[in-house]
Amino acid sequence: MKQSAPKVILKSAWRVWQRNATVYKRTWKLNILPNFFEPFLYLLGMGIGLGAYINEMDGIPYIEYIAPGLLISSIMWGASLETTYNVFVKMNFDRIYDGILSTPVNPKDLAMGELLWGATRGAMYGGAFFSILLLFGMGHHWGILLIFPLLFIIGFMFATIGLLFTSFIKEIELFNYFFTLFLTPLFLFSGIFFPLNQLPEMVQIVAWFTPLYHGVELSRGIFNQLWDIGLLYHFIWILVVTALNTSIVLRSIHKRLYR
């Protein structure tokens, strides 16, 4: 028998996004507050504390050096949490997807809805972070507007990565590996805290293949108005990887939920 895998119906994906928004609306005030504290604490601890010892990095005040990258990492954490733990619980413990999938919503629509929601949450983390940076006097120029689409696109990219991992695992404990062995190294070695050109060339090559690095470079370029064709390449890298990963993850979720 032929197994046709239907195309994504965006309207159905939107319904799934709406469901998550409805749930989130109940507790959003409680939920969003930590998103503002976090950047504040980072900038205080690392920028001002560590910055007292490191005046400049690559010719930029240390606090301003790390802030654009930290912003991007906050998107990464936000979007990843959403499409890992939260999706896993909805899928396996609360059985919410069983209910959703017996409506006209199909597995691929569901996956797309979760990706859009993960991207939204990532953008919210990033947006909160961004507003604190503005308060700290950073990014006060028109070019900074380019950061807004980036909040969502980078959120979407990390949503696809998290969801892909979720689509393969059967035990929730395995997320520990994803976070400590994948996201934490990204956080530390993507050029947020120090330039990668100080490290062996091998590390730089590896970094080029990882997602956070390109986001950090883009963000730092935009914040510090270092306009350069290199920024475009980083952006294209992100778009290509996101598009490829989306098509893989939709298929993977379809396979997981329709068998």
Binding site: M1, Q18, T22, I96, Y97, G99, S102, T103, P104, Y258
Partner: protein, 310 residues
């Protein structure tokens, strides 16, 4: 006049999970406006059949049409016409009672007005007014099941699928669910249910498919099944095994067949009253001697065997 077109039609329907053939090339047809039951022990393949009908799992072979649409190529359209009540509740625990209905309505593209109107109707029909704004976690088992049925009806489906609708409910809640099912049948909804409760099947179903190990071993109305598969009356005897055997040896020629269980003896007969008198006259000490009408349970046990399946 032509026979009404079947609302669900399966031919050679097969589902294989690895080494296990869960459903093995079955055929069936369900008439619109009736209640059709899949009856069978655990692992018989009932739930898998249901899941194929509501597009939760693809068939490996055969054809399955729901409302005239193929389940593999028209998933969304098929599901639009079906309401599903799964065995384990799949309510949205992050939402309260009314929001479970409203959010569900959105999946079917009902607009806000239609959704809230329909939700009010269903909350009333299933007597959930007082729980309207409660969290779903706070509901009793019976109320959760009612809410699940209510939610399944949000888009006015022509087919309602109930996978073991009364499993785990207390007797009052079961009867409440059954009476709502009867009302739905009267409204013209086609009911499809799986159950391993014989009383449930007898109460609700017009037609029953008895399943075992992935195949349909018998299909008929409950009444015909009882009439053709077992004798109309049963005598149930409890007591020492040797006394039971003693009785059996004496009346073997008076019965159609018997079932010797570990704790009791069942004698299937056309005329229980005279046999009952005869056994009483034998004056053998027994714990229990009871006449009853044969039920679907007798049919079920005869057809699927008494061994524990799982």
């Amino acid at each position: 006049m032509d026979k009404p077109q079947a609302i669900v039609q399966a031919e050679g329907l097969t589902k294989v999970y690895g080494q296990l053939t869960a459903v093995n090339s079955i055929d069936f047809q369900i008439e619109p406006g009736t209640c059709y039951g899949f009856l069978g022990p655990n692992g018989a393949g009932k739930t898998t059949v249901m899941r194929m009908i509501y597009c939760s799992t693809p068939p490996n072979a055969g054809e399955l049409l729901v409302n005239g649409l193929d389940v593999t190529s028209n998933m969304s359209a098929v599901k639009r016409g079906i309401g599903v009540v799964t065995q384990d509740d799949s309510l949205d625990y992050d939402l309260n009672v009314v929001n479970n209905l409203l959010v569900y309505a959105r999946y079917y593209d009902l607009n806000r007005e239609q959704a809230s109107h329909r939700a009010d109707e269903l909350i009333e029909f299933f007597q959930l007014e007082e729980k309207r704004h409660e969290n779903v976690r706070a509901l009793s088992g019976g109320m959760k099941r009612r809410l699940q049925i209510a939610r399944a009806l949000i888009n006015k489906p022509s087919i309602l699928i109930l996978d073991e609708p009364s499993t785990g409910l207390d007797p009052q809640a079961r009867h409440h669910v059954w009476s709502k099912c009867h009302e739905l049948i009267e409204q013209g909804v086609t009911l499809l249910l799986t159950t391993h409760y014989m009383d449930e099947a007898e109460q609700l179903c017009d037609q029953i498919a008895v399943m075992d190990r992935g195949i349909i071993i018998k299909e008929d109305s409950p009444w015909n099944l009882i009439k053709t598969e077992v004798s109309p009356q049963v005598i149930e005897i409890r007591g020492d095994a040797k006394h039971r055997n003693n009785i059996l040896d004496n009346i073997r020629d008076k019965i159609d067949f018997h079932e010797a269980l570990s704790d009791r003896l069942l004698l299937y007969t056309q005329d229980a009253t005279s046999l009952h008198t005869q056994i009483q006259k034998m004056d053998i000490p027994l714990k229990m001697l009871l006449n009853r009408r044969s039920s679907l349970e007798d049919v079920f046990l005869k057809l699927t065997g008494r061994g524990l399946i799982d």
